[in-house]
């Protein structure tokens, strides 16, 4: 149960926030990993899964660390952008973190980039999908193990057109991620001959969708494309179902609509079709092994956020291994990382010039409370990295 886990974290926390994983006496070097994730507030679940994944990777591959001490410094961002510069400055300047893993929230990412771009550390983004991270604000020392908003929505435009939808309504929160996702969908959907008949923008973080859905019902589109995540995703699916539209107008979206939310959505999520770079059920050896390990370690099922955190951990492990623990030479670390193939549970991926994963995007459908993979919507998809001069 979640509560036991949390109690244990509390105990851990009381014992001291810096946790030494390999306390061997002969350890030659301490490698500091700063973790900037939300541990309280609406995004707390995403933060703790990411952290768990990260720790799991370093624990699993302990023997590849060349005897380095790994020290975690965990900071709660509370998903508050205005705290981001301060916290990242703490990790960079006070703790002299070698790697900084974070954040979940794109607004926080913008604040972090402000202090970490081109500085003496490696930033690995394990979630925030804002285009700027590997677009206009890209930098040699910034990597992303997750996705770009474009990647998770662009393929859906093609899928929708292939399904024969002509008139589609889009709805999302009025914030960066939402608008970028809808734009990416529109890009491929209109290119394939579809028409967006209405673009609805909901003030963030409003979760009262009933009036919007009533409006959609009166427009009678062929399908509805949405980008919502977390509580918004749960609420939208619940309202969409409650008002009887799920049976009548197909609901499609970026995969976050049904990621980590299925328990709360229940039958309201059945039949929703989404595109994402991961699915719990992916049938590959890495994924099966990872999920087993995660379950036995944390007594809960792994999810996308755990995978992304885990991959950030794999990157760090790989870099330490190849450089034999000498990670102070950032240029060397960057060189290793940008040429790396990450053996991710989602399938192997490499990095684009802008340091975003080149990865498969899967087409998924919810059946019996699980995201089933129907197909690969677009294989080895690379983000266009607009605005990046790297």
């Amino acid at each position: 149960m979640a509560n036991k886990n949390n109690l244990r974290h509390l105990m851990f926390g009381l014992a001291g926030s810096a946790l030494l994983l390999t306390p061997q006496a002969y350890a030659n070097e301490t490698i500091k990993i700063g973790v900037m994730l939300p541990f309280s507030g609406a995004y707390a679940a995403l933060g703790s899964d990411g952290r768990n994944g990260l720790r799991l990777a370093l624990k699993e591959h302990r023997e590849r660390l060349h005897g380095s001490n790994i020290e975690f410094i965990e900071m709660d961002t509370e998903a508050r952008p205005e705290r981001a510069p301060e916290i990242s400055s703490a990790l960079l300047n006070r703790h002299k973190a070698d790697f900084i893993v974070g954040p979940v929230h794109s607004g926080v990412a913008n604040g972090m980039l402000r202090t970490l771009r081109n500085r003496d550390t490696i930033m690995i983004v394990p979630n925030a999908g804002s285009a700027e991270v590997t677009g206009a604000l890209c930098a040699p020392n910034v990597f992303r193990t997750s996705f770009s908003s474009w990647q998770t929505s662009y393929p859906m435009g093609q899928v929708a057109a292939d399904k024969g939808y002509k008139r589609v309504v889009t709805i999302t929160w009025n914030y960066g991620m939402g608008r970028e996702s809808v734009d990416a969908f529109e890009e491929s959907f209109t290119a394939a001959g579809g028409e967006i008949i209405r673009k609805m923008l909901v003030p963030f973080p409003r979760t009262d969708f009933q009036s919007y859905i009533s409006e959609i019902a009166s427009l009678q589109p062929d399908a509805v494309f949405v980008f919502f995540a977390g509580s918004g995703a749960v609420q939208f699916a619940l309202d969409y179902d409650a008002l009887g539209l799920r049976e009548r107008i197909p609901l499609i979206g970026s995969g976050f609509l049904t990621e980590g939310t299925l328990g709360a959505q229940g039958k309201a999520a059945e039949g929703l079709v989404t595109t994402l770079h991961y699915a719990d059920e992916l049938d590959n050896p890495n994924n099966v092994k990872f999920r087993e390990l995660y379950k036995s370690e944390y007594n809960r099922d792994a999810d996308l956020y755990a995978v992304q955190g885990y991959d950030a951990g794999l990157m760090i492990v790989e870099a330490i291994d190849q450089l034999q623990g000498k990670v102070k030479d950032r240029q060397a670390v960057i060189e290793v990382m940008r040429n790396m193939t990450v053996p991710s549970p989602r399938g192997d991926f490499t990095f684009s010039k802008a340091h975003n994963p080149i990865q498969n995007v899967y087409l998924r459908e919810v059946k019996d409370g699980v995201n089933r993979v129907i197909d690969v919507a677009m294989p080895a998809l690379e983000d266009p990295a607009r605005g990046c001069n790297m």
């Binding site: 149960m1 979640a2 509560n3 886990n5 949390n6 109690l7 509390l10 309280s40 507030g41 609406a42 707390a44 679940a45 703790s48 609805m200 923008l201 909901v202 003030p203 973080p205 409003r206 979760t207 009262d208 009933q210 009036s211 919007y212 009533s214 409006e215 019902a217 009166s218 009678q220 977390g230 509580s231 918004g232 749960v234 609420q235 619940l238 309202d239 409650a242 008002l243 009887g244 539209l245 009548r248 107008i249 980590g260 939310t261 328990g263 709360a264 959505q265 229940g266 039958k267």
Partner: protein
């Protein structure tokens, strides 16, 4: 906007307004009688929803979990009033604001410790899971109608209690003149405990009723808190009748603003509130 869509949106607005009233009524009652501004009121809404979810997953009965949750909320109310709120009767509003902000922190931390941070949901009770078709594409869930009816019944019950019963007489007297009630030999501290506990319970019941309709997530209380403030202030602080009118007003205005004025949708209710306070600085139904 077609006529049918107009009426559908009107229903949406009314339903949202009724739920707002249920949450806000506890806030305005506590303020009216005790002069306490409880910022942690939204947290009680959250606690109600989490309790309902927790007991539903253990008992599988919505009614049973609703009753247990209400009883627990009542006990929390009594406990909080006896240990904390009691200290503040002779302090100013500022101290109350502060203490209840502290309570928000504590409730949020407890929620995260006890129930984790994953979004949760419970399914609508089978008996109420049907829906009524309104148009070709749109139908209205029975459960939401049920919630609206419960809200109206609770509003009527509150009205009856305040205007027709001995407790209500004391509440009304307490609003207008604290000393007088004390002179009448009535145990004012017990009255305050009861009123505060009822206020907490109303918020929790709103949380319980919302549980099958909303995503149960950390921080859900703070969103409704501000909406409740708007309702209570527009209605006139301490006025149940005012809260009722204001909640419906806010519900309808907010619903229509969302579709008609999308660019300023979230500002509209605050503009409404500012305008009303300019004309009637103490709200629509102030004493």
């Amino acid at each position: 906007m077609t006529t049918s869509l107009f009426f559908i949106q009107l229903i949406n607005g009314l339903q949202y307004g009724l739920l707002l009233f249920l949450i806000a009524s506890g806030l305005t009652l506590v303020f009216g009688v005790m002069g306490i501004l409880n910022l942690a009121h939204g947290s009680m809404y959250m606690v109600g929803a989490y309790l309902a979810w927790y007991f539903f997953t253990h008992t599988d009965s919505f009614l049973l979990s609703a009753i247990i949750s209400a009883v627990i909320a009542l006990s929390i109310g009594i406990l909080v009033e006896r240990t904390l709120i009691r200290q503040l009767y002779h302090r100013n509003h500022l101290d109350q604001v502060l203490l209840t902000i502290g309570m928000i922190f504590v409730f949020n931390a407890l929620q995260s410790l006890l129930w984790g941070n994953d979004p949760q949901g419970i399914k609508v009770p089978d008996l109420l899971s049907g829906s009524i078709p309104l148009t070709d594409t749109l139908s209205y869930p029975v459960y939401r109608i049920f919630v609206a009816v419960i809200c109206i019944l609770l509003a009527a019950a509150l009205y009856y209690t305040i205007n027709k019963t001995r407790l209500g007489m004391l509440i009304r007297a307490g609003e207008s003149n604290r000393e007088m009630v004390e002179c009448l030999g009535i145990n004012i501290s017990r009255l305050y405990t009861i009123v505060f506990a009822i206020g907490v319970m109303l918020a929790a019941i709103a949380g319980v009723l919302s549980a099958p309709m909303v995503s149960i997530v950390p921080g859900m209380g703070e969103h409704v808190l501000i909406a409740c403030f708007v309702v209570v202030v527009i209605g006139g602080m301490g006025s149940i009748k005012g809260a009722f009118v204001a909640a419906l007003l806010v519900g309808i205005v907010d619903t229509f603003a969302a579709v008609l004025l999308p660019s300023i949708a979230s500002m509209v209710v605050y503009i409404l509130m500012a305008l009303i306070l300019l004309v009637k600085p103490k709200g629509l139904f102030s004493n």
